[in-house]
């Protein structure tokens, strides 16, 4: 029991990871796939952020009288990864718009049908 509650942050990250991954694989709607991808990425951000916590540590801002700080490096890394995630989502959605213009649909099986009926 302690194993489950003590690591609740990791369980949340794993749940989100799997939920996102499943959405990417199972959905045929191109926008839903992008959203799934987003959830998948965000779960990794959570994983990084939660592992940077140091037990009893204060936020990493130098203050008098505080000895233990949380690790600020993962925060900085994830700031970069968030930017990458935003760029990926933007590019993905832009592609979806172009696909909608070219095919008139954003359903994967419909696109597949159009490509193979030619």
């Amino acid at each position: 029991m302690d194993f489950i509650i003590g690591h609740y942050n990791y369980w949340i990250a794993i749940f989100l990871m799997m939920a996102g991954f499943y959405t990417v694989i199972s959905r045929g709607n191109l926008v839903k796939k992008i959203i799934g991808l987003n959830i998948f990425q965000v779960s990794v951000f959570l994983l990084y952020i939660s592992m940077s916590t140091v037990k009893g540590g204060a936020p990493p801002i130098i203050t008098k009288g505080i000895e233990i700080y949380s690790n600020p490096l993962p925060h900085v890394l994830i700031l970069t990864a968030i930017v990458v995630g935003v760029a990926t989502t933007a590019l993905g959605l832009a592609l979806v718009v172009r696909i909608k213009e070219a095919y008139g649909t954003i359903e994967e099986d419909e696109i597949h049908r159009q490509d193979h009926s030619l």
């Binding site: 990871m17 991954f21 990417v24 191109l30 796939k33 991808l37 998948f40 990425q41 990794v44 994983l47 990084y48 592992m51 993962p74 890394l77 970069t80 990864a81 990458v84 760029a87 990926t88 590019l91 993905g92 592609l95 979806v96 172009r98 696909i99 070219a102 095919y103 696109i111 490509d115």
Partner: protein
């Protein structure tokens, strides 16, 4: 200048990319890209020279000492891969001028070169950096720009294949990120050399094994290692010709470099063979060589045929890595270089056909061999090199790969390597048959030879195929040196 060599290689294309985007339409953006890639090729040559003669270069970004700051650490392996990437880019650009004008709408050309330079900067960044998170950032720079570049293909399938690649590529990169996070949680460092020092102490832990698996799967997706190659045939088929040439001969090579770097330098010696990783590489190599080659035989689109052949060739490199011996890794690095030469030449020749007739399906190209003798010659010699006929670069790769397999007494692998060559003979035979032995169709009879500007770069690569097939001293020397630098121990 000499001191900042390693950084300039990344900074020059990164700064030039936005410049190319705001330049007016016309040939100016192309000229900027040409200058940048030639400058980078020269710098990469100087860098390889410096590394071979003076040893490892360690460049501290912003003067922050590693492992706190980001370090660019160049040994023979990255210097060699950086030279391949920038060399191929410099040869591709003269070719790009006409091909891009034909395939890309005028108003998109400045943006095209801008994205090309970004992709180039990202790939060079991956080779240069010694920091594993910095590597992720460069990976995403190169990937995002290559998704955009692929989507610029003329047919609408280019959009869906770019989308498919975006999904798969992002999954791969995120897997890599998870792996890096787990390893960071255990070791507290991101610097590759620092990791190499700390990992032996903790390499028995489950976290490290999980992280390792995530990193390997992530990069296997990027590398298009069988059976994670599904994005590659579509992306290569529908991308603009120039992008197919560039990605086929650089992007997968850089991903392979990262794999060997992580397997042999970052993780301690013997880790690969202690985990199922080595066996899995051999297995996926064997499966990839056989199934992708058979798939290639049944393709009717020449570009798609060559794309499947690329998946098979990646299988050869995986086989070399899977042997986890000095000989095997040497063979993989030799093939990395030689495959860039042959696929570069072949995709350029196919691009020249597309330039003339606008398509490259088997029924479209019938009899073209007599109309376009030089292009046909390039396909024949490139094909021979792909098969591995003595006197071509492909033979050297196959020779070392077979030697590495014999050293391990891996008889099945030897048979597979040779079968792969036979299958390559069949699918290249099909292309040559359509080009030369079928009568010229009426629409093709008026087709003229491709312009000089397309033929010259193609033939530079063709001649390189023959040159490095006859004189393998440079490739083999550098590859052996590289395997030592990676820290692969002879078994």
């Amino acid at each position: 200048m000499q001191d900042h060599l390693s950084l300039l290689l990344v900074v020059i294309p990164l700064v030039a990319a936005p410049v190319a985007a705001v330049l007016p339409q016309g040939r100016l953006p192309w000229f900027v890209a040409l200058m940048v890639t030639s400058a980078c090729a020269t710098l990469a040559g100087m860098q390889l020279w410096a590394v071979v003669h003076d040893g490892v270069i360690s460049y501290e970004l912003g003067g922050w000492a590693p492992p706190w700051g980001i370090e660019y650490r160049i040994d023979v392996v990255n210097a060699f891969v950086a030279l391949i990437v920038s060399g191929i880019a410099a040869i591709t650009l003269p070719y790009a001028l006409l091909s891009v004008e034909k395939e890309i709408p005028d108003h998109q050309i400045p943006l095209f070169y801008s994205a090309f330079l970004l992709c180039f900067a990202g790939l060079l960044g991956i080779t240069q950096t010694g920091d594993i998170f910095n590597l992720f950032v460069f990976l995403e720079i190169s990937s995002l720009s290559s998704y955009a570049l692929i989507s610029l293909g003329r047919r609408r399938q280019a959009l869906t294949s770019a989308y498919q690649y975006l999904i798969m590529g992002t999954l791969g990169a995120t897997f890599f990120l998870i792996g890096v996070g787990l390893i960071y949680a255990q070791t507290g460092t991101l610097n590759m050399m620092d990791l190499a020092e700390r990992l032996p102490g903790v390499s028995g832990l489950k976290t490290i094994h999980t992280g390792f698996a995530f990193i390997m799967i992530g990069f296997a997706l990027k590398l298009a290692l069988f059976p994670l190659h599904l994005w590659l045939p579509n992306a290569y088929t529908y991308a603009p010709s120039v992008i197919t040439v560039f990605l086929a001969s650089t992007a997968t090579k850089v991903a392979l470099y990262v794999m060997v770097r992580i397997l042999f330098t970052v993780f301690p010696n013997g880790f690969v063979t202690a985990t199922p990783a080595a066996d899995l590489f051999v297995l996926s190599g064997i499966a990839g060589i056989l199934s992708a080659s058979v798939y290639a035989i049944y393709q009717v689109d020449v570009k798609r045929l060559l794309a499947y052949s690329s998946v098979a060739q990646i299988g050869y490199m995986a086989l070399g890595i899977g042997f986890a011996s000095a000989m095997g890794v040497t063979a993989a690095i030799i093939h990395l270089f030689n495959h860039a030469l042959m696929k570069g030449a072949l995709f350029m020749a196919v691009g020249a056909i597309i330039y003339r007739i606008g398509a490259c399906r088997m029924e479209n190209i019938e009899g073209l061999g007599r109309q376009m003798p030089w292009t046909f010659g390039a396909i024949v010699i490139g094909g021979l090199s792909l098969i591995g006929v003595p006197g071509t670069a492909g033979f050297i790769s196959k020779w070392y790969l077979v030697l590495a397999a014999l050293e391990q007494q891996a008889w099945i692998s030897v048979v597979v390597i040779l079968t792969g060559s036979l299958l390559a003979m069949v699918y290249m035979g099909k292309v040559i048959e359509a080009l030369y032995f079928k009568p010229v169709t009426e629409t093709n009879i008026v087709v003229k030879e491709a312009p000089m500007l397309l033929l010259t770069p193609t033939w530079i690569l063709v001649i390189a195929n023959i040159y490095f097939g006859l004189d393998a001293e440079f490739t083999v020397g550098v590859a052996e040196h590289a395997a030592r630098a990676l820290g692969v121990v002879a078994k």
